[in-house]
Symmetry: C2
Subunit: 303 residues, 2 copies
């Protein structure tokens, strides 16, 4: 059976998903723990986990994949053979050549995880078939990716699409990339304790209190949503998409997020000739990156 | 003689510049007043001005151009035959089909003026040969354009690259596109009187006072430059260019702009693995748009 395999190497799990080339049906799905910092048979545990998932898939489907694509955090090298820059976590990942490591006959395209998630949503999710769309993922941090005229923006060093690292306050505190008052720090899980003076341990708890009618929670949450709305309206003026996909754990707040967000956009979005941008929740959840990696692998066969 | 003709239809003047196809040399340059609101021989004066410049050029160079390109304010239609959206000024420009009006055998590509200016700088100016670069023009308003992997971003309705309309303060006053606390309102000429409580009638006067050591002028000007630096650092994280071109009248402040701007970027720019983005002044001045229009026309012959 001919199939493509998409792998998403995350901080906690490695996900693998395969699709039949004949009809595009999903035919394999499995995860393995990343175990960052450990090693197995002389290689980092994350590399061994990828190799074992490839082997498990080949075993189940009766042969190796036609192509493999891989998504991982960090800046992807422009030759798409590795992650070129990923400080702090997954030591050894920088420059790790997946085509060599997996000994595949065809190159393994390597993508940034947020870019892969957007491709996944464009292929089989919330942004199906769109050519101009960007995605914002709201989680511990805030990530993103931009598709323009059907192409994923990469830029000079693979940094394009870091939508969480835009300033909404030139006098705010610097975020991890040094941007003051960044979108990431205004809505990311990473700052919810600090933003709430220690009252809320998670965005989930904050949003629950907001839904119960807690005044202080409403003030905090709606301030974050306003920052998100202004950031999206700004990025709409930069990228001019037909839709914006919102993903990540915080997007599961549902109407508690999307209703006040729509109100902010009604106020601040530029709508030339009445044109308005659709805001849509992501559909593929945690699997978007693996889907996008598979899609990228498929593109290397038939672009 | 075979030549291409670039036309930039501005609010005050129409500029025309021609280049020989054989060696790329400039062989014609002329301007005519726009006279917005008047009409000539039953057509808007701006249209008549374009037609007369085309005729003057053909007369001087002994025949019609091989191709014409045209830049104008507003959102360009995706078929590149007209400006699709331009409220308020140059009435009649929306939907005006330049290929029909000029009765040219080949289509006249129509571009947004800021996009044309960036193409001009990429062709023969400050960004020569670059494939990932964006431009910010600081004038009455703040405009911009983005080139990514050699392609001008256009987006779904031709709005991409409106870099002046990004928010630096979700609680700021709305700008002309409704974005609160926009870059345009923080450094554009349009707000200098309001920002200075009526003390400075122009950015030029503000910068002169800053250079004389005026404390209040320094506070105001450096606040604007900080906003610009944070906006550029944000857009670097979105677009990941190799250089940023700064154009427009305010860029003529020279070191009074570029020195404090470099200091802001030293503080707030994300520099993965030490990579830093070059900030360069535009080189073609008022003629960048006409150059870019000519370049786009040339591309329709040999992309």
């Amino acid at each position: 059976m001919q199939y493509i395999l998409g792998i998403d190497l995350g901080g906690t799990n490695v996900k693998a998903v395969a699709f039949a080339l004949a009809d595009g049906r999903e035919c394999f799905r499995q995860t393995a723990p990343t175990r960052d910092g450990q090693s197995v048979d002389g290689v980092p545990a994350w590399a061994a986990a990828v190799r074992s998932l490839v082997a498990a898939c080949a075993n189940q489907l009766g042969g190796p994949p036609a192509r493999i694509g891989l998504a991982a955090p960090g800046l992807a090298a422009l030759d798409e053979r590795s992650i070129a820059f990923m400080p702090g976590r997954l030591q050894g990942l920088e420059g790790w050549d997946w085509t060599n490591f997996l000994a595949t006959p065809a190159p393994v395209p390597v993508l940034n995880d947020a870019g892969a998630a957007l491709l996944g949503e464009v292929w089989q999710g919330a942004a199906r078939g769109l050519r101009d769309v960007f995605m914002v993922t709201l989680g511990t941090g805030v990530g993103g990716a931009v598709l323009s005229d059907g192409r994923l923006l990469r830029g000079k060093i693979g940094r394009a699409g870091h939508l969480g690292h835009i300033s909404l306050d030139p006098h705010g505190a610097p975020d991890i990339t040094r941007i003051p008052g960044s979108l990431e720090d205004k809505i990311g899980e990473c700052t919810v304790q600090a933003r709430s003076g220690g009252r809320f341990a998670s965005t989930h708890a904050l949003v629950q209190a907001y839904e119960r009618g807690d005044t202080e929670a409403a003030r905090l949450w709606l301030e974050s949503v306003r920052a998100l709305g202004c950031a999206i309206a700004s990025l709409v003026n930069v990228c001019d998409p037909e839709a914006v996909v919102i993903g990540g754990g915080i997007a599961q707040a549902g109407t508690a997020l999307f209703t006040p967000l729509a109100a902010v956009l009604d106020e601040v979005e530029w709508r030339p000739a009445g044109h308005r941008v659709r805001i849509v929740p992501a559909q593929l959840g945690d699997w978007a990156g693996a889907y996008g990696a598979a899609y990228r692998a498929q593109q290397t066969i038939s672009p």
